[in-house]
């Protein structure tokens, strides 16, 4: 059986011909719209996944306000701000990649997507530096907590929230980077055109959601 990529022809504009339209869609627009709607539904479930963590944050903060304030002072605001700016910039490059892909400018889209992946890797490196410091200090969840500078009760609880929220977010960053790399490779092969660019758009939507979650995590963990 031949793969669909090798069987596809190249159009006069130099794009790979899009995959065949599934028979249950009347038009390409109809198909793209359905793919987009499916992605938004998925993002809705992601919002509800992170909802639990945010609710946990607010409940534990209400119970242990002193330790949450003390712990926030021991997080590096500089690193948190740098990470926020990195993610916002990567969201811009992803949006620009989408803009280029829907015009068939695949090479531009490729470089913009790769820039986003590099910024995602930068985000993870900064996070790793922060995690290493927390492990060194003993600012850890549960029975592993041995950080003497947080004296108020509830310190280990803050680090449960911190590691769980940022850890789950970091997993999303890794998945997002994988998706962006996958569509970047397809951009390099000139698979996208004004009639077919849904994978770039959907991978971009996922990446923007990763950004959205961090926009809330940054002030709640580092600043408040």
């Amino acid at each position: 059986m031949q793969s669909s990529a090798t069987a596809r022809k190249v159009t006069a504009e130099g794009w790979l011909e899009p995959p065949p339209l599934p028979h249950h869609y009347d038009t390409v627009e109809n198909h793209q719209s359905a793919l987009r709607f499916g992605m938004w539904l998925f993002l809705g479930t992601e919002v509800l996944l992170f909802a639990g963590i945010f609710v946990g944050y607010f409940v534990f903060r209400a119970y242990f306000p002193e330790s949450f304030e003390q712990a926030a002072r021991h997080l590096s605001v500089k690193l948190g701000t740098a990470n926020t700016l990195l993610l916002l910039t990567s969201s811009l490059t992803v949006a620009l990649a989408h803009h280029n892909a829907e015009r068939g400018k695949n090479r531009n889209a490729f470089w913009l997507l790769m820039a986003s992946v590099v910024m995602g890797a930068g985000f993870l490196c900064i996070k790793a530096v922060e995690y290493a410091e927390k492990f060194r200090e003993g600012a850890l969840p549960g029975k592993h907590f041995r950080f003497s500078e947080i004296t108020a009760p509830g310190g280990p609880i803050f680090y449960v929230v911190y590691f769980f929220s940022t850890g789950l977010h970091a997993i999303h960053v890794v998945i997002g980077m994988s998706l962006l790399t996958w569509v970047a490779v397809r951009c390099w092969r000139k698979e996208f055109s004004p009639g077919y660019y849904a994978p770039v758009e959907n991978a971009g939507l996922y990446w923007h959601l990763v950004d959205l979650v961090w926009i809330f995590l940054y002030p709640l963990l580092y600043l408040v």
Partner: protein
């Protein structure tokens, strides 16, 4: 197969396009709001004030990302409903949980110490068996493995 690269579809979508300059401008505003969040956190305000300010700016940033970067401004109504509904459900969850937490009185959150041991000899006649430290007494009679 001709419809796959149908120009009409592309043109219809292009009518609602977001220009690259608008994307860059949005990014600049988002960076500015990030610094504003940071600046506000250094001001001398109450913890509640800090929290409210941070949440307001974050909500504004999220709105900008969703409307401009994620193209929901020009997006189909169905997509808007999905995302707005999921956020509303998040608010419902958060509101009721926080309403519960903030209206509890102290005793419901405190640990109640275990019942102290009771000297059986001190108990007056007719006290229920649950008052004793050993828990409910067994009824008399043989206890077999049935």
């Amino acid at each position: 197969m001709a419809s796959l690269t149908h120009p009409a579809g592309a043109q219809a979508h292009a009518k609602h396009e977001t220009s690259p300059w608008r994307l860059v401008l949005n990014w600049l505003v988002l960076c500015g709001l990030t610094f504003a969040t940071f600046g506000l956190s250094t001001l001398n305000m109450s913890p509640g004030g800090h929290l409210a300010a941070a949440l307001c700016i974050s909500t504004l940033k999220v709105t900008l990302v969703v409307l401009i970067f994620m193209h929901l401004w020009h997006g189909e109504g169905s997509n808007r409903i999905v995302f707005v509904t999921s956020f509303l459900f998040l608010l419902v969850l958060m509101f009721f949980v926080m309403a519960d937490v903030s209206t509890r009185f102290t005793l419901t959150n405190s640990r109640i110490p275990p019942m102290p041991k009771v000297d059986q000899a001190m108990l007056p006649d007719g006290m229920p068996p649950a008052m004793s430290s050993g828990g409910p007494r067994r009824t008399s009679g043989p206890v077999g493995n049935e």
